[in-house]
Amino acid sequence: MTNLKTRWIIFASLLALAVISYSITIKLKIRPSPQVQKTYDYIENLPESSAIVVSFDHEASSLPEIKPITQVILRHAFRNNIRIIGMSLFAEGTAIGYSMLTRTAGEFGKSYGQDYAFLGFKPQHISAILGMGESMRGVFPEDYLGTPIDSIPLMRHIDNYDSIAMVISIADGDRAVQWIEYAGARYNQKILAGLTAAMITTYDPYLNSGQLFSVVGGLKGAAEYEMLYGQPGSGSRGLLAQSMAHIFIIALIIIGNVIYFKGRAGKKGRG
């Protein structure tokens, strides 16, 4: 078999595996990690019409992991009639955040300005985080669409962290650390992080010290959350597909070695 043909077989198998396992919706019967359970319980028990901030602090390339996490948290919050203020400390996260928020809000028939709002992007993230502790109006005089913040009904009674139940930073890097170190440390704001799988261990010290309330990490975290929420979605499907592909890679490594050793034994036999 030529090299090229082997490649085609590998590529085709991986694609087929990903497509098939992604099309299957399984109801996971797993025990959710304590972090995800804690997050779910907290949002579940928030009084109606509390306000939370969701900050989209990530790049577009991590969307495959970020999207399922964000989606299920937003759905959960909207289902419980919690009001959401979206924003971004990462330029690339802005348009994504706005679309994701409006789209999920649409599913629940929520209206812009009453039930949710999107403030947009702010560079100089540390001063933005600190500034919001004093006055959100000062940091965001108008929202993403250019509406003055005072004419947004939702924002009328909210001006700093005092009226915010929780900040959720959806991050693929260390932006959530700055939320912890500035909003958390200085203003006692509760911080939650939605993270890519690769970033989870980086946040362990903050979790252990209690500075970070909890974490929903990777497709696995999203899948667990979806299970608690009661509606398997892209997280559960993604988790299955990711696990299958992962096992496929392991199998390839093993098959590669089996072929190699068989070939070597064959050569020895002839020699």
Binding site: I10, I30, A95, L239, S243, F248, I253, G256, N257
Partner: protein
């Protein structure tokens, strides 16, 4: 003069940037930020030079094929033309409709450029697979160690692995946090030293490969 002036400028800018690192005087920070801005501005002009060269070579191959349409040789002309149209399109859209949310500029970015970029990124999944098949054969002792270490971490990091066993995940973290981390540190220390000596040679003008090419 053609060599001495650049060398002097290189030394000066290098020395200034080196010294400002150790100061927190406002002047030092101002100089630092100023130089960064200058850097950025010169970079932008260089970008125009690079793009101009790209356009020039593109136009050359497009017009070449027009001039000799009958040679029958396969040309890149249609593809170059696509590139040039794409290149012109973005600035035109930006001029006409701005770059804010909902502008045609962003629409093209979102529906054409971004999906293609993330698709190229996702080619990696396939290439990881083909490389795994080929590159982990236990030919020698180091190759065997590479194989075992990779298999171990791969198994421990199957997303659902820790529903079945916690000890495997723990072992995986141990490998990452201790033996693997040790080697990574040594690599980083070496790179730090190599970078430092290279940068020093540049500032002192010993390293001047970029200055020759004189005919």
């Amino acid at each position: 003069m053609r060599v001495k002036i650049p060398l002097a400028i290189c030394f000066l800018s290098g020395a200034i940037m080196f010294i400002q690192y150790f100061s927190r005087h406002p002047l030092a920070k101002a100089v630092y930020n100023g130089i960064l801005d200058w850097w950025q501005i010169i970079f932008a002009f260089t970008l125009f030079v690079g793009v101009a060269a790209f356009i020039k070579s593109g136009l050359k191959s497009v017009s070449w094929s027009k001039a000799r349409p009958s040679t029958g040789r396969k040309t890149d002309a249609p593809y170059k033309a696509i590139s040039l149209v794409g290149l012109a399109l973005m600035p035109i859209l930006a001029l006409a409709g701005g770059t804010k949310f909902g502008s045609p500029f962003l629409w093209v970015f979102d529906n054409m450029q971004a999906p293609m970029q993330s698709t190229v990124f996702s080619l990696l999944a396939f290439f990881v697979a083909s490389a795994s098949f080929r590159g982990f054969r236990a030919r020698t002792i180091p190759a065997t160690i590479l194989l075992i270490s990779a298999l171990f971490v791969l198994l421990g990091r199957i997303p659902v692995a820790d529903y079945f066993t916690e000890s495997l995940a723990k072992a995986t973290f141990w490998i990452q946090d201790y033996p693997s981390m040790a080697a990574r540190r040594a690599i980083l220390i070496g790179i730090g030293l190599g970078s430092m000596t290279t940068a020093l040679r540049v500032i002192l003008g010993i390293e001047r490969t970029y200055l020759r090419g004189e005919r």
